[in-house]
């Protein structure tokens, strides 16, 4: 009874890892070492990188405020791209995802629209932008089209899934009252999915805002081109200005998206908006951001 508090001496660790988990861990470590030698990681490179990084950081600051007109031009174009791409993407993905819902449409209608959505999702927006730059030339139009494609891929997929999850009782009830097909859609389907649709759309607006600052790197308009050329000319203080502006815009966009959700979904009034910040993030898929 003297040493109740002392732990009993055992050789085995409780809940020890299985040999599979150990082997997996060792494999991961071996892979990491192998891959880093393949990619050219080395200590000397890391050390010289730290020196270069310090010099780079010192050249970022202070941000340059000399060419604000160039900055504003690029930012305005990025915003235009984001707004137009979101509008077009939302408008186009509505009919596509209605056609793609298996519970409302026959198979001959769902297959083509599902194929369109899968195709739109397959490639990264920047790669799509390259193809559109070739098709419609340099400039904002290519960016708008590329981000429209990305929006159709994202909203189309999630909205199709949302429609497939609706309760069919209301659809049947409306249909039994002799409603036309359009009425069924408007009065039985849309009310059930509207909230999620707003959620996806505001998320996509946010994501288009981020991507619209990037498509310029391949010549599809917006601030990205200015940013890329500032990098190539080692104008790091101007780079800093652009980056800070982009971050500010993205944060403003997040606030705007949250307000849109509060107004349309939670029926917030002005005093609600001022009083609290509603957190409605459940509908947002965690992708990309």
């Amino acid at each position: 009874m003297a040493n109740v508090g002392a732990p009993a001496k055992t050789d085995s660790v409780p809940f020890a890892l299985s040999w599979k988990a150990r082997a997996g861990g060792i494999l991961v470590v071996i892979y990491a070492i192998y891959a880093s030698t393949q990619l050219g990681f080395s200590w000397s490179r890391f050390q010289s990188g730290i020196d270069l990084g310090a010099r780079f950081l010192s050249r970022l600051f202070p941000p340059s405020i000399e060419r604000l007109d160039v900055l504003w031009q690029g930012i305005a174009e990025s915003l235009e791209i984001a707004v137009l791409a979101s509008t077009l993407g939302i408008l186009l993905s509505l009919p596509i995802s209605l056609l793609g819902a298996r519970n409302l449409m026959p198979a001959w209608a769902t297959w083509p629209s599902r194929a369109i959505v899968a195709l739109c999702r397959a490639l990264h927006p920047v790669i799509v932008a390259i193809i559109f730059v070739k098709a419609v030339g340099f400039g904002a139009l290519a960016g708008v089209l590329a981000l429209t494609v990305a929006s159709i891929g994202f909203i189309g997929k999630l909205f199709t899934e949302a429609i497939e999850e609706i309760s069919l009782k209301q659809v049947e009830a409306v249909r039994a009252s002799g409603a036309s097909f359009a009425n069924v859609i408007v009065f039985a389907v849309m009310p059930q999915v509207f909230a999620r649709f707003v959620g996806f759309s505001t998320y996509q607006l946010d994501s288009n805002l981020r991507n619209s600052t990037m498509v310029g790197i391949v010549g599809a308009g917006g601030i990205g081109g200015t940013l890329f050329s500032a990098f190539q000319r080692f104008d790091y203080d101007f780079v800093c200005t652009i980056l800070l502006t982009i971050i500010a815009i993205i944060m403003a966009g997040e606030i705007l998206a949250r307000m849109v959700r509060a107004i349309l979904l939670d029926n917030a009034s002005i005093s609600d908006l001022l009083r609290r910040k509603p957190q409605r993030l459940k509908d947002e898929p965690g992708e990309d951001a």
Binding site: V28, A32, Q38, F41, A76, E77, L141, E287
Partner: protein, 270 residues
């Protein structure tokens, strides 16, 4: 009986109060104004738009016999490099993001200051696009796959850390309190209290991020950060559209492959 105590309700039902209606109206007005303004000022060159079908046909025509022969050598090496970048970047980001995620979770780190610091790190990592991270690391490490891997790792910290922190915050306090009551150390609490609860979430976060990183690593080469994007860029600069077609097909293929691997290992791990 108690008719005197009833408050006066409006006789007509309205869905929204006037304040709500005003706010909705303002929002719609804002949308329409933004769309009209953008459509009016955006730079569209109509001549380019008219010959778009022609250009597209030309593009497809130049792409058509896909240059399968050039797969050997540079392109296959670039493809492997892309996969290495995505995987190593994900591993590195997990190593970096786990401490930040632990600090961001309020139930594990009951310190507002540290939470805010961790959240700030996560938000800044997510606010900067991976292409911009790549540009920053190219300025530090020079062009190549190292910059790309670092870019992927730093861009993923925000994603992995945020979701991990949320998973920790959603963990049941019961097992944790039981362990704390036995006097377990912090590492034991994490290992036996939190880890079994967040393990499914952890694996699905890592797999999802790896999938995203495979897609993104294919693009990073466009700014010079290694991988298949570099091959894509040089093929486009040389107008070798048949090679471009091959690279696009390959990117498509690895994206599909990644999705298959994800679905399989999710079934295996979760």
């Amino acid at each position: 009986m108690n008719s005197h105590s009833l408050p006066s309700y409006p006789t007509q039902w309205t869905r929204y109060s006037s304040g709500q209606r005003l706010l909705r109206f303002a929002l719609y007005l804002l949308f329409i104004a933004a769309i009209v303004q953008s459509a009016r000022t955006v730079d569209v060159i109509p001549e380019f738009l008219y010959d778009a079908p022609e250009q597209m046909a030309d593009l497809l025509h130049r792409m058509w016999p896909i240059d399968w022969a050039s797969f050997q050598g540079d392109i296959s090496r670039a493809l492997i490099e892309t996969l290495h970048m995505a995987t190593l970047g994900t591993l590195l980001s997990v190593v970096l993001a786990v401490p930040v995620g632990l600090l961001a979770a309020n139930n594990l780190t009951p310190n507002r200051g540290l939470n805010m610091l961790a959240r700030f790190i996560l938000v800044s990592s997510r606010s900067i696009n991976s292409l911009v991270w790549a540009l920053l690391f190219i300025a530090i490490f020079g062009p190549g796959a190292v910059a790309g891997t670092m870019a992927i790792a730093f861009r993923s910290i925000g994603f992995v850390g945020k979701l991990l922190g949320e998973a920790i915050e959603e963990a049941q306090p019961g097992p944790v309190e039981a362990l704390t009551a036995t006097g377990a150390s912090l590492s034991s609490v994490i290992q036996y209290g939190y880890w079994p609860q967040i393990r499914p979430a952890f694996w699905s976060i890592v797999l999802l991020r790896w999938d995203i990183n495979v897609r993104e690593s294919a693009v990073l080469g466009l700014v010079g950060a290694g991988g298949i994007g570099m091959a894509l860029n040089s093929a486009m600069d040389l107008f070798q559209w048949d090679r471009v077609a091959l690279i696009l097909v390959l990117i498509f293929a690895i994206v599909i492959l990644a999705e298959i691997i994800i679905t399989r290992s999710r079934r295996h791990l979760l």
